[in-house]
């Protein structure tokens, strides 16, 4: 518990309020595009810094176990991607990871080439019967 508090405290110190606010807006748009009809989205998050951001979105409910989540947001740990968890919608925060686990990961919001990127993999969107609005189509990729 002390470690979690320490992580959260460090995350708050390191991250400016403004940056978190913009990150929150970006995640809000991603989640509402994926689930336009859901009033509550259950999310499991690996990265404590992202957890803080997602927790501040009103329609997001943070869960402590991946099996209870609609969406998994993973950061580094590919071990989470068991066959069972791959049946869920997985978003990732690492370019390396999305490239490595492209069969399982639906999309990602990560730093690559010196800038933040958003990517959705078309094949995995189809797998989950997800249809993104027109303004989000520019972020859909066939391959990585």
């Amino acid at each position: 518990m002390i470690r979690i508090f320490a992580l959260l405290f460090t995350a708050v110190l390191l991250y400016s309020e403004e940056t978190s606010q913009i990150q929150k807006e970006i995640y809000t748009q991603i989640l509402t595009s994926l689930f336009p009809k859901k009033s509550v989205i259950k999310i499991w998050v690996e990265n404590p810094r992202t957890l803080l951001v997602l927790n501040s979105i009103p329609f997001v409910h943070i869960v402590s176990k991946p099996k209870n989540a609609d969406v998994l947001v993973i950061y580094k740990n590919s071990k989470i991607l068991s066959p069972q968890n791959c049946n869920k919608i997985v978003l990732c925060e690492s370019y390396k990871l999305i490239k490595k686990e492209k069969e399982c990961i639906t999309g990602g919001f990560f730093w690559h080439k010196g800038r933040p990127n958003i990517i959705f993999l078309e094949k995995n969107l189809h797998k989950h019967h997800l249809h993104l609005p027109k303004e989000m189509e520019q972020f859909i990729e066939d391959e990585l």
Binding site: S16, E18, T19, I22, I26, K113, G114
Partner: protein, 620 residues
């Protein structure tokens, strides 16, 4: 008026995801800053700013430091002069690339080699004025420039950048960054040829062209961090150093190689580094170049050549401690510097070397009050210098104390510093006094600084007002008959500075710096008042940057007037795709920028010439 129209801010308020990503990047650039508020007067150039400015070399950034003029010296080095004063001694400044100090041993400065380094590998730059360096655990300096390179985590991928301009300059940058299961790395390479406007003096062409090569690598494995670099620069002589200041050849060829290893664990850092530098300087002049031969002034008609070689070994460690509202940092380091010199002056040959060892310990104590809204700090440092020749051992101490107080929207900062600048090695040896009359008994320049600052921040803007009072003594001068000697009279300096930043949003903002200085001797060797104005705008796929640098005119001590200057520069970048950008930059469009007066001759030279640059960047 024509400038005002161009400076009209361009608004963009859109919440589409692409714009949000751009804003997120701009905001993240700010949150990555590593600045230490207590270390001095801080001026930061963020990555977003550097990219919008299309900054290509360090010179493009350092010219915007308020209160200082980054200007050309007669031998084609870039040096700083403080408002109203002449060139500052080279030992006033230390430059760090990440945590590595790139200062040479012989000249106690990084500027003879790194003054115009390429900066495509740079993430952001922090400039600390009125500093003492204790906070960074290295040797003392009044001005500290910390250059932070890009990180493999954020910049994973490849990038190539090519630049060329209407003067015939061209350059290529390439980097690759990646994170693997084992660790991460960042590799960077740069090569350029920089051409400048050819000026004439007494019918002869004056050349200040240069070319540079930089290779840089950063490797991170768990708690281990290794950085290495190879930088080579070649410069034409500009005016040189001769009697006529009309060079008929010569120039500078200099190389710096270093390896820096750092081990971080919890709050402790241990470091080791090794530097090797060579510096070959030759002067040829129409009427010859003076040199000193054991107290006798002579003139080299055919050859004036010096070769310096530095070897620096650094070992250091520091640890941070936290007890509730009290924090402390304690550190120690050791440096071994060897400077060797060889000279050829027509028929005379010289060869000598000097080793300096430095032992240092320091402590930085910080006590917080009122729910951490107020911080009192006290920094102490003790340095011991020992030489292998008959040069007196020196012990010096540095004290720095101050207060930072946060009151709602206002921050108050006050500090007092008593410090010194170590004497450059080339001024105290060789014993034979060739080619300069050296003085092993030179005292280090000592200075006291008092600085008061208030910063008001609201949602969209930040206004800073600063006052500083500085007194320095033991300034070092050179005369052909006496050699290097300490000036008895102290110099007092009052400075005033204000900075306004207004953010329309994270992508669109204006920065205005206004500064002025007055010295106790009423000397006018450079402009004592100036304004720097920058606007940063983003309109869809376009990045627009405007820059206006004003410096006032002044009367020279020996008579004559230097006119005020107003340099306007403009940069435009079009992001064809997120991976490919095309940029254009026009520098000093009206050709009315700052001109440097040269004391021995009645002629001024434009420091930043008019040029139009094209810039292509591709990431993949």
């Amino acid at each position: 008026m024509r400038y005002l129209l161009l400076f009209l801010p361009l608004f963009l308020f859109s919440a589409d995801l692409t714009t949000l990503l751009q804003k997120y990047k701009a905001s993240s650039d700010l949150s990555r800053l590593t600045k230490k508020e207590s270390a001095g007067i801080v001026q930061v150039f963020t990555r977003q700013e550097l990219e919008s400015m299309q900054a290509y070399t360090l010179k493009d950034v350092l010219k915007l430091i308020s209160l200082l003029h980054y200007t050309i010296a007669p031998n084609n080095l870039y040096l700083f002069s403080l408002a109203s004063l002449s060139y500052l001694p080279t030992n006033v400044l230390r430059i760090y690339i990440d945590d590595h100090d790139i200062t040479s041993a012989t000249f106690t400065s990084a500027l003879p080699i790194w003054s115009d380094m390429p900066i495509e590998c740079v993430d952001h730059i922090e400039v600390y004025k009125a500093s003492s360096s204790i906070e960074f655990g290295n040797e003392p300096a009044l001005l500290i420039i910390r250059i932070y390179t890009k990180t493999p985590e954020r910049d994973n991928g490849n990038k190539i950048r090519t630049v060329f301009d209407d003067r015939g300059s061209k350059g290529v940058d390439f980097y690759r960054a990646d994170t693997t299961d084992i660790g991460s790395y960042f590799l960077y390479g740069h090569i350029d040829v920089l051409r400048y406007e050819k000026e004439r003096r007494a019918g002869y062409e004056i050349n200040r062209d240069s070319d540079d090569t930089l290779l840089f690598g950063k490797f991170i494995y768990q708690n281990h961090n290794i950085e290495t670099a190879h930088y080579h620069t070649h410069r034409h002589p500009f005016l040189g150093h001769g009697k006529a200041l009309i060079p008929t050849g010569g120039g500078l060829g200099a190389t710096h190689d270093y390896l820096h290893y750092q081990y971080k664990k919890d709050t402790s850092i241990a470091e080791f580094s090794l530097d090797s530098l060579t510096y070959d300087r030759s002067y040829k002049d129409l009427l010859g170049v003076y040199y000193n031969d054991n107290g006798r002034p002579k003139m080299a008609k055919e050859e004036w050549f010096t070769h310096y070689r530095d070897t620096i070994i650094y070992l250091g460690m520091h640890n941070d401690f936290v007890w509730n509202d009290f924090e402390a940092t304690f550190g120690i380091f050791f440096k071994n510097k060897k400077s060797s010199q060889e000279g050829k002056f027509d028929t005379l040959r010289s060869r000598t070397s000097l080793t300096k060892q430095m032992y240092s310990f320091y402590g930085d104590l910080r006590q917080y009050f009122q729910n951490r809204q107020t911080m009192l700090f006290l920094s102490l440092k003790g340095d011991l210098y020992r030489f292998n020749k008959i040069i007196p051992q020196r012990k010096k101490a540095i004290v720095r104390t101050g207060l930072i107080c946060n009151l709602s929207h206002t921050q108050l900062k006050a500090s007092f510093t008593r410090s010194y600048l170590p004497v450059e090695m080339y001024r105290i040896y060789p014993d034979s006094s060739v080619p300069y009359i050296t003085n092993p008994y030179l005292k280090p320049l000592t200075y006291q600084l008092f600085h008061l600052e208030t910063i008001y921040t609201s949602q969209n803007w930040k206004f800073t007002l600063r006052y500083g009072y500085q007194t320095g003594k033991n300034f070092i001068h050179y005369s052909p008959s006496k050699g290097f000697y300490n000036l008895e009279d102290p110099i007092h300096l009052h400075i005033m500075e204000s900075e306004l930043r207004y953010y329309f949003d994270p992508l669109n903002f204006i920065v205005i710096d206004i500064y002025g200085a007055r010295n106790s001797h009423h000397l006018h060797y450079s402009p004592d008042f100036g304004i720097n104005l920058q606007t940063f705008n983003q309109l869809g796929k376009w990045n627009i940057y405007n820059e206006l640098i004003y410096k006032n005119g002044y009367e020279k001590k020996k008579g004559g007037h230097i006119d005020h200057s107003l340099a306007y520069s403009f940069a435009l970048k079009y992001n064809v795709t997120p991976d490919f950008t095309i940029g254009f930059k026009a520098q000093n469009i009206a050709k009315s920028g700052f001109r440097q007066a040269i004391s021995k001759i009645d002629q001024t030279f434009e420091v930043y010439d008019r040029r139009i640059m094209a810039n292509l960047e591709y990431t993949f």
